[in-house]
Symmetry: C2
Subunit: 313 residues, 2 copies
């Protein structure tokens, strides 16, 4: 098991910066006032495909040898990772095979198709997804691009924090949401040479990282329900190891707190963030972490929402 | 009748830049692809109070002599201008008197109160608003800050285009929405020394500027219905004169086109714009103006929306 190093993230950044946007860091007076500190929002909602996931996917896919690459890449996902793999595959000019559950929202299916990926539908269970993916990989020889439990993915996701540290060096704390743990792991490794505290924030309804971190034992959750749909997955062995080594703490927030934080950001900052992005903001707005007079970086993970199904409607 | 000059806008900018944000100019690949040109979005949705209106209000209010100012400022508005006058008044440390119709949405009333303004409610007719304002002005000696038909307001609004020209000098066309005409007038004057074409865009449902421009006669509309609520007002004499002198054309868009353009911007750019901002974008997406291989600036007027009442729900 290779825990990525800061050097891996620097290496990833050389690749990722050729394909991804350097996203802006925004501030907002209402937010600062509300938390009595300085909040710096790293806007991965403005990233390609609307989420940080493109960083990891582009690093993984452009790290493949030509021989590996020509057989294509494959993954199973109904979310942002699917679009990220599809777009990075398209940019490298290789086939991308995406396994999606048959009940995936049409808008997500269309987005993946729009990037030229080949979709295989399967039943909406984790087992069906994994079995179908295994078949696709066997048939095509494509490389499986795991959504988080992969050093190239973790290193790629870490480039968001690397940029943030360049754009705003004197931070006291950085917050990132935790689902599978790729973003939090990469963030923590990127900041490892500094004194900056790294805190993961997780929905109470999907608190496997919180429990695993507290007990020192990986405790995946079978079934989770949270509006932060990007955070329903559990940590993997590699991300858990990264988090144990580099992260300072994990806190949780309620569904109600997530919804309110999401709406607060929409109304005050005029940017669209998805519920997963609102999770660390909710931790700030509800004093789960004291940031009085501190400088806080927040990684806003993405901005892909279904405008016909907003949580306050 | 004093038509403001470029010099007036430069003078306004010296004042406005002390109080307002220099808003960013954003680009988006999907939008560029859709219109086969380069679109540069001047994001006044990120301006203070969430709209360009703060530029005009701050210029007008900080241009008052101390003697005038101490008696306060007054206006009637249920929209962005009310908040702009309230905030600029608060920043100057003088009373702001806002006349609002008794059916104004609570969220707008609260926002105005939040900036410390004194609200007088009246019946929801234009006559009641004007009469009530007249009384307030008589009683207090406050200066009336007109929402658009005032050279200081027009010069203030023109600072958005002045900044845009500095941020992105080589534009071929600039589009701005037209309601009362303050923003369009200021934009056209700011660009007057250049060859850039200035086009106003208006909802079909509130097409007084289109008709007035075409016939050369000011034709106000009594009653208009459009989801672009910031554009329901008609041109004034001064803004009409500015527009006749400096604007190259006015085009109109349907309600359906506005709604679709608004949703397009939300989904693709991840920024929140109000319906009035979507009006010029709608003109681009529906080929009302040919911008093939051209560089187009678009003034996004604001981002204040009622998240409980989105046009697609």
């Amino acid at each position: 098991m290779h825990i990525p190093t800061l050097e891996d993230i620097h290496h990833a950044h050389k690749i990722v910066q050729k394909y991804a946007h350097q996203t802006p860091v925004l501030r907002n007076k209402s937010l600062d006032k509300e938390v009595a500190g300085q909040v710096h929002l790293k806007c991965e909602n403005f990233q390609k495909v609307g989420a940080f996931k493109f960083r990891g996917a582009s690093n993984a896919i452009f790290s493949l040898s030509d021989e590996e690459a020509q057989k294509g890449v494959a993954t199973h996902s109904s979310g942002n990772h699917a679009q990220a793999v599809a777009l990075a595959g398209q940019m490298r000019g290789i086939p991308a095979y995406i396994v999606m559950p048959e009940n995936a929202p049409n808008v997500k299916v269309e987005a993946v198709k729009g990037y030229g990926a080949r979709i295989t539908f399967c039943e909406a269970t984790l087992k069906a997804r994994e079995d179908t993916l295994e078949n696709v990989v066997k048939e095509t020889g494509a490389s499986f691009i795991h959504p988080y439990n992969d050093p190239r993915i973790i290193a790629g996701q870490g480039t968001a924090a690397l940029e943030l540290l360049d754009q705003q060096p004197d931070l006291d704390i950085i917050l990132a949401p935790v689902g599978g743990g790729g973003l939090l792991s990469g963030t923590a490794i990127a900041a490892s040479p500094t004194d900056i505290k790294i805190i993961g924030v997780e929905p109470e309804e999907a608190d496997d990282a919180f429990r695993s971190f507290k007990t020192g034992t990986l405790i995946p959750l079978d079934h989770t329900e949270t509006i932060a749909d990007g955070l329903r997955t559990s940590l993997g062995e590699l991300t858990f190891a990264c988090i144990r080594e580099h992260v300072d703490g994990i806190v949780t927030v309620s569904e109600q707190e997530i919804k309110k934080a999401m709406r607060f950001v929409w109304e005050r900052t005029k940017i669209i963030i998805e519920a997963s992005s609102a999770v660390p903001v909710a931790a700030l707005l509800n004093q789960k972490i004291d940031v009085t007079e501190k400088k806080v970086g927040v990684i806003l993970s993405g901005g892909n929402v279904d405008l016909d199904n907003l949580p306050w409607n």
